[in-house]
Amino acid sequence: MKIKLLLVPSIITLIVILSIWLVYPAYSNGSTGVKDRYDQLKVEKVKLDSILGKSDSASKLASQLDSLGSDSDVVYEFIPSDIKESEIIDNLNRMAADSGLLIYGLSVGRPSLEVASPEAVVTMGSTSLDATNPVAAPAIPVLPKPKNFEANIQVSGNYDQIKTFLEKVDVFARYSNLNNLILKKGISSVTGGVNNSPTAANAPALDVLTANVKIGFNLVDRATLSGDNVNDPVFSNGSLDTKIISQIKSQRSGAAMTFDIGQKGKANPFMP
């Protein structure tokens, strides 16, 4: 009789114990409970919706880019992904020749390695699914930066010719910047004693100037998609901002001349 009287309190105690030790942890224990899993599921669905939205947006933007046709080449011509030394040499040579200048030297340096390459990426966010950290830290887009290099050209001519040449460089279709200019009267002082020109006399001619010009160029490696830049704001936009094309066209009217190697191959490479 006494044991039977204790039955109800015992069951109530059991209910309380089970609720505390089993049921509530199964509902929520901070990581593997039903509530926690459900929250995790919601995060994963948001991520899935986000990537679907980005894919959709990227397809539309890519179609817009395709519809630009050759206009988009203006941007790639302004900042190419390759150094294209041969085109630089060819174009500077033609610009100098068209301006009536005599070229003493022309060289192209190597792109600066000081600028961080796209491979040097510091991962700030994660796209993997992590149950303990369902909301990953916001990713910081890491995109390739310009790598700068210089072309050095030594020319000789009169003031107007040098000015014309530099103005041609100024509107060159590829990005170019006058980094350094040394303009002096005469020839020998800048060119280091090159005196094979008919105008190079001991006493410099009145209107003959020699210019040592350092022109800055750059290149930008092609962007690659990774976990860091999939969250780039461009994929959230409905359309691609293309006003840069008209800006480049308005400021850089001098088209880059295409470089053609022509005939190549020689039986005796030592024969002049």
Binding site: V8, I79, T127, N177, L178, L183
Partner: protein, 174 residues
């Protein structure tokens, strides 16, 4: 002698009070409910896990498709556009340097050399003037030119051969 009746009244047929029986049934039902709830939670957990894995796998597929698609071309174009905008806004026309020099140099003065450094936008000029009066006028002319933001006079000396004054000037372009 009076008699005392010590017999108690029987409440139920089997000897237990009614509320006791109802209580046992109630708490037993609650206990069963607790077990059912626990089982339901375990089942729901399993279902949600399966759904998470499905969404996860779908996300991985879409993510890989996104990486392999033409999104990188869009990103590359946008990156070049952004860099180009910055370069165009910063670009400094060489015309400014020549026009500033041309508009400032006096007819009696001429330049021996001109150098320009884009890092600090400095223009260094080596000038030749017939006399110190012209040097003074030339200095004033440079100072009055709004294309320059600063002016500094360097060394000046008379050339013993020609009798002309050689003087250096440093100017900062705006």
């Amino acid at each position: 002698m009076s008699t005392i009746n010590l017999a108690v009244e029987q409440e139920t047929g089997n000897g237990y009070p009614k509320f006791f029986k109802n209580g046992v049934i109630g708490v037993t039902a609650v206990l069963i409910l607790v077990f059912c709830l626990y089982g339901g939670l375990l089942y729901a957990n399993k279902k949600i896990m399966a759904e998470i894995q499905s969404v996860d796998s779908q996300y991985d597929d879409e993510y890989n498709k996104f990486l392999a698609g033409n999104a990188k071309d869009v990103l590359d174009f946008k990156n070049r556009s952004t860099i180009s905008e910055g370069l165009l806004s910063k670009s400094y026309s060489v015309k400014n340097i020549f026009s500033a020099a041309e508009s400032s140099v006096l007819p009696t003065v001429y330049l021996e050399s001109l150098s320009y450094d884009s890092n600090n936008k400095m223009v260094n000029l080596s000038c030749v003037a017939p006399g110190f009066f012209d040097v003074a006028k030339q200095i004033e002319s440079f100072k009055e030119n709004s294309a320059f933001s600063s002016f500094a006079l360097g060394k000046s000396a008379i050339d013993s051969k020609t009798g002309l004054i050689n003087f250096d000037v440093s100017l900062k372009m705006k």
